[in-house]
Amino acid sequence: MAEQALEGLKVIEYGNLIAGPYCTKTMAALGAEVIKIEPPEGDEARRMGPFLNDVPHHERSGLFLYMNVNKLGVTLNLRTRAGMKIFHELIKDADIFVENNTPQVANELGIDYPSLKEINPKLIMTSITPYGQTGLYRNYKAHDLNLIHSGGFAYINGDPDNEPVKPGGQQAGYVSALKAAAATMCALYYRGQTGIGQHVDISMQEVVISITEGTIGMWSCGRSIRRREGSQFPGIPFISLYPCKDGYIGAAAATPPQWKGFLEMLGNPDWLSDPNYESIAYRMFQYNDLMAHEPKLKDWLAQRNKLDIYHTAQSKHVPYCPVLDIEELVNHPQLDALGFFLDIEHPETGKLKYPGWPFTLDETPWVVSRSAPLLGQHNVEIYCDRLGYSKQDLRILRETGAI
């Protein structure tokens, strides 16, 4: 096996659902050893679907399985003294600790940064919380829904006369996990130079704000409130989604070469013959005039299939793309060529197809070394073989609720 980028890095995760677990999953993919600590009842993701064959089972949650590939799993009750002692032994030897509990819970448990820094001064600790470690809302409760709304993403998403709407899935959790992974590596870089550890504070609300793309700028440059506009791109004609014969197509022609290709695709219609239209600024200036012609474009698209439009447009370097549903996505030839999906064997589910990673490293390729851990699967390996507890100790710890 080739060397791995994060080989030898020791990561401890006390994470739940997505934000903490997906953050450490990225590190595990690059060869870091990630020990996932779960409370005795397990990560909440184990009780959340989708489940294999729709039958709830704590080892068959697709969410949990996807989040925890490549990790070692132990159970530990941080609310017991013995549990906390073991936790400290793990932290002592770790490079990175990732958690996504609210600051209040972290303090109650004693897993706050000042406490852990005393045990391991070089530790990098990453906390992913709804509203950050400080500020008026730091103890506010939030689900993914609330953060998409409080981060300003929902307000600009949806139809003007309908309510603000969240996108599919649990996006606040995922993007926060990714920001946290990059931030943790940034702290690791600094530690590599200086030997100094630190605390990384990720506010999920702030991460959501950072993906609202130009929305803050609309206020700071134009003093205007950005509102919901359905699929229409603000201010630029013909960037939108349109129905076609068998679904929907995403439409855009931005640069001058793209605009030329777009005209060619439509057969150079008279209504777009003004050569000034080649400039995107002019098209924005003439927004209303151009949009009066939109029905003609819609007619043209409605008579064709989405894949035909896609390939024709792309052959002319026009960035049209069809709206793919999940089935079409999983079976798309380009993703097959990229090797995006992979099969992973798991004792409770057998072999399943998982999404892989959207990246490659030519010198240190990412790996899949194991499927998500069963609840407490590596207790013996970590507690006995690594920390030196006996099987007898383990029995007592289990019976007293510490692991």
Binding site: T26, L30, N53, G62, Y66, T134, G135, L136, Y137, Y140, L145, N146, I148, H149, S150, A154, E163, V165, P167, G168, G169, Y174, V175, A181, A182, A183, A187, Y189, I196, V200, D201, I202, V207, I211, T212, E213, G214, I216, G217, G222, R227, R228, E229, S231, F233, L241, P319, L324, I326, E327, L329, Q334, L335, A337, P355, W357, P358, F359, E363, T364
Partner: protein
């Protein structure tokens, strides 16, 4: 200036539009030096997006893009015509003194410039070179044109975006650009740790398309496990109810509320002053509430409709229920919580003046990031890059400007 995490790291940044520029923004605020290599011959189109309203779009030129300034704050700009051999030669000199390269073109472009990884590693063997092609660098569609805000259609996210039973709605941002940037930043910094230990550089690649599909993991798993192709859920959850967005007092004012367990439901009913709902058969357990959520939502909206989003949030959070307003950009800028965290920055820019920008992407306790000034004017740092860094005499720089190599 305080110490920053990435002090001393230099990036030769060929990226443009959004995904690469987002990535280098994360690095610049933590102390990396980002040299954006651009040209009059291929203007980053974001340089012309979102200018100040008081200036007509035709008079803004290439230095008044508000969005460009936000995305490129604190970066340096030098201009080089990469279609000119001398431009490529000078680029190689910049690469020799850099640690990282970031580019987000289709695979053919850097090759055409003669600056692909195989060439670059000969002159700078330990370079960390990140490519960010929209469709990847292999496969039947590798040369297709990526435009983030539309490419999201391919990822599954557009199909899932919208209201229950409604048509797909284009996500309001080019979702893949920042997501892909986060993957890329993670990769570069991990590869730098590998380089620290081994001295080896490498070629990295992130793909915009799959960056978005990867964050739909459990939805894709539902298909691969159960052959179910999920569709739009609006603000609903697959098991929680109530879980939605409700109209409040005022024009276009909204609040989001999510209630999980039976215990939370009890607390919620008391908090909203309707303990009688606890007795109603249609809401008696989580399954009944989920099945009858349309009726439930109407009742909740009668309550929220009399209050502002802030009042609803205050009442529910005090009781321990997850609620939050659906904030507008203006409300966020004036939000007391973000204010108390010092989130907003207002960097100065020579052509735009002071403009508020979203603040630090992450917060490090020992080496906090910094934001000082807006984005660079086109070629603003030519003297620094060619004069100070490459130590070229002034006459030579002037000559190359006249010859439109530095252009």
């Amino acid at each position: 200036m305080a110490k920053r995490a990435l002090d001393g790291l230099r990036v030769a940044d060929f990226s443009w539009i959004e995904t690469g520029p987002y990535l280098t923004q994360y690095l610049v605020e933590n102390g990396a030096e980002i040299i954006k290599i651009e040209s009059m011959k291929r203007i980053d189109m974001v340089r012309q997006v979102m200018g100040p309203v008081e200036v007509s779009p035709f008079e803004r030129g290439v230095n008044m893009g508000g969005m460009f300034s936000e995305m490129h704050r604190d970066k340096l700009s030098c201009t080089l015509d990469l279609t000119h051999p001398k431009g490529v030669e000078l680029t190689k000199e910049i690469i020799k003194i850099s640690d990282v390269i970031v580019e987000n073109f289709p695979p053919r472009v850097m090759k055409n410039f003669g600056l692909d990884y195989d060439v670059v590693k000969e002159i700078k063997p330990d370079i960390i070179y990140l490519s960010m092609p929209g469709f990847g660098s292999t496969g039947p569609e590798m040369d297709y044109v990526s435009f983030g805000t539309i490419q999201v259609c391919l990822t599954g996210l557009a199909h899932l975006n919208g209201y229950v039973d409604g048509p797909p709605i284009r996500p309001p941002t080019s979702y893949g650009d920042p997501t892909n940037a986060m993957f890329g930043a993670f990769l570069i910094l991990a590869a730098l740790d590998y380089r620290r230990r081994t001295g080896k550089g490498q070629h990295l690649e992130t793909v915009l398309w799959t960056s978005v599909s990867a964050v739909l993991g459990e939805i894709i798993m539902d298909y691969t496990m159960n052959s179910r192709s999920q569709t739009k859920m609006g603000n609903r959850d697959s098991s929680m109810a109530p879980h939605g967005c409700y109209r409040c007092l005022g024009e276009n004012q909204w609040v989001s509320i999510a209630v999980g367990s039976d215990d939370e439901w009890k607390v919620f009913c008391h908090a909203v002053g309707h303990p009688e709902w606890l007795e109603w058969e249609m809401f008696v357990d989580s399954l009944s509430r989920w099945k009858n959520q349309s009726a439930l939502n109407l009742l909740i909206e009668q309550w929220t409709g009399q209050l502002t989003p802030y009042m609803v949030t205050y009442i529910l959070q005090r009781a321990g229920i997850a609620a939050a307003p659906s904030f507008t950009n203006e409300e966020l800028i004036h939000n007391p919580h973000l204010d108390s965290r010092g989130f907003w920055f207002e960097p100065d820019h020579p052509a735009l003046g002071k403009r508020i920008v979203p603040g630090l992407n992450w917060r490090l306790s020992e080496t906090p990031g910094e934001i000082h000034r807006g984005g660079p004017l086109l070629g603003e740092h030519n003297d620094y890059v060619f004069g100070e860094l490459l130590k070229m005499p002034k006459e030579e720089i002037d000559r190359l400007v006249a010859e439109e190599v530095i252009y």
